[in-house]
Assembly symmetry: C2
Homo-oligomer: 319 residues x 2
Amino acid sequence: MSGCRGSRFSGSRFIMKNRILVVGSVAIDSVSTVCGKVEKALGGSAVYSSIAASLFSPVRLVGVAGTDFPEKYVRLLKNKKVDVSGLEIVPGKTFFWKGSYDKDFRNAVSHDTQLNVFETFNPKVSAGNANCEVLFLANIHPVIQLDVLGQMKNPLITACDTMNYWISREKKHLLRLLKKIDVLFVNEEEARQLSGQHNLIKAAKLIRAMGPEVLVIKKGDNGAMLFTGSGIFSMPAYPVVKVADPTGAGDTFAGGFMGFLASCGSGWRRTDSLKKAMAHGTVMSSFNVEKFSVSGTCGLKASDVRKRYAGYVGSLRIC
Amino acid sequence: MSGCRGSRFSGSRFIMKNRILVVGSVAIDSVSTVCGKVEKALGGSAVYSSIAASLFSPVRLVGVAGTDFPEKYVRLLKNKKVDVSGLEIVPGKTFFWKGSYDKDFRNAVSHDTQLNVFETFNPKVSAGNANCEVLFLANIHPVIQLDVLGQMKNPLITACDTMNYWISREKKHLLRLLKKIDVLFVNEEEARQLSGQHNLIKAAKLIRAMGPEVLVIKKGDNGAMLFTGSGIFSMPAYPVVKVADPTGAGDTFAGGFMGFLASCGSGWRRTDSLKKAMAHGTVMSSFNVEKFSVSGTCGLKASDVRKRYAGYVGSLRIC
């Protein structure tokens, strides 16, 4: 969980940590699985990503919530040192999702989706936030993602997530976005849908030609694959004995990945940095699925992450 | 691809390599996929496993074929230094399978299955073969597997594969077998079927309690998982750009795994030996799926395997 060499300290001289701006949804979720259920829990792509990233780098969240958004959730984010000055609280209700998973956690069934104040989300990036060195555009409308990207000053790393809905309905805008970003996160089916190729290696080649230098294909409990100019790096999932709730696993993966990568500074393109980012994303998402909502990650100490990371990396070492 | 330290040489003293006895099917396959097709090609679990294992350890094959079995296939096995003295040629036709795969290679459709001489396969293990140090019982009826196991003198390592058909129809005999073997290979669905547990980690715990000290769960293009008393070790698949034919991938994995493990001698239980065996199985099966029938593995040189193995192991290293 340590940053890349030289990213934070150079001799005795302190170098300012790279700040990561996370833009995405802030939600209230009611989720049930075979392990139990939660009502009106904290959720949303920006929330999951921010909490995971906060273990590695300073995080600023940009999002919108309604006046029903519990103050305790704001406090939770603040306790994680997430800067919430970019979280607008506007009249109306917070984005609400109610869903359940089947017993193998592969398929989510949505019982209720109320976009509420999220429907007219039109983020304005403050001058302070626009100076963040790293931008992570969690899953939202590609036009909003493009708009936020345009408001940034000169980010060192730009990354985004997306989903099947935008690929099928807003592909033109998504393709404009992809030309401008460094790192893209998609899952297997999204990679196939975006590229029109079933084989993930061929799909990755086509997607990287659309713009992103780095592509991460998330495969749930089958791990993730990293595609860069230097090659293909597959990583298995961390084995989780008891999955409680897979909600936010992908966002948490991306948050852990980007949070770590931000700590690598200008060395972020190195294969080593990217592989470590993959491993940190893997570890963070393994914590996430062990509990409902953000309970699996919001209470983590750096030492918890370090310990699991060391075990994971060790399990992959063959010598 | 080198054996474990001390397994082959001790100072200047040569130690006899451990021989691996492979018992299973010998078949003629006609296979079609989106990449093409082959007619009456060499196949069968014992064949795939033996060819893969032969890259690492001396192999002896026990199986049965009909008088239609082409002499060129016997020569191919002999060229791989596979001892075929245990391959019976009996009146009748060789086990024949005709099948095809859908475009993602996940589902095989059987168009024709003729057991032929394989239906009455009743292997007699010669005195020479009974002295082999390592036994791999490829997928056949568990009663035959038990019978062969009983004919062995004092094997150092015993391993077996099985399939859904035997788990549902011959579970009693299979459970008797599992009590006596060291290493079991199953795929994900078989693991769930055998244990009644969906979560693979819980499934593995239950299966290991049935007898096998070491369990390998094969997950196709999602890699494989190793379960031992020391922990859980997941490995991704080697990324294959163009899959031609997945037939025999699991047998080839097991063959590479067991062939390497045989080379580890009495150190086979070490986590390091087992992880290397996993990696060798992974690499061998990646070669297998790139071509039809055994074409992907039968022409391999040791240097081909060494090179891909080094690349695979390096891709997993995070430091």
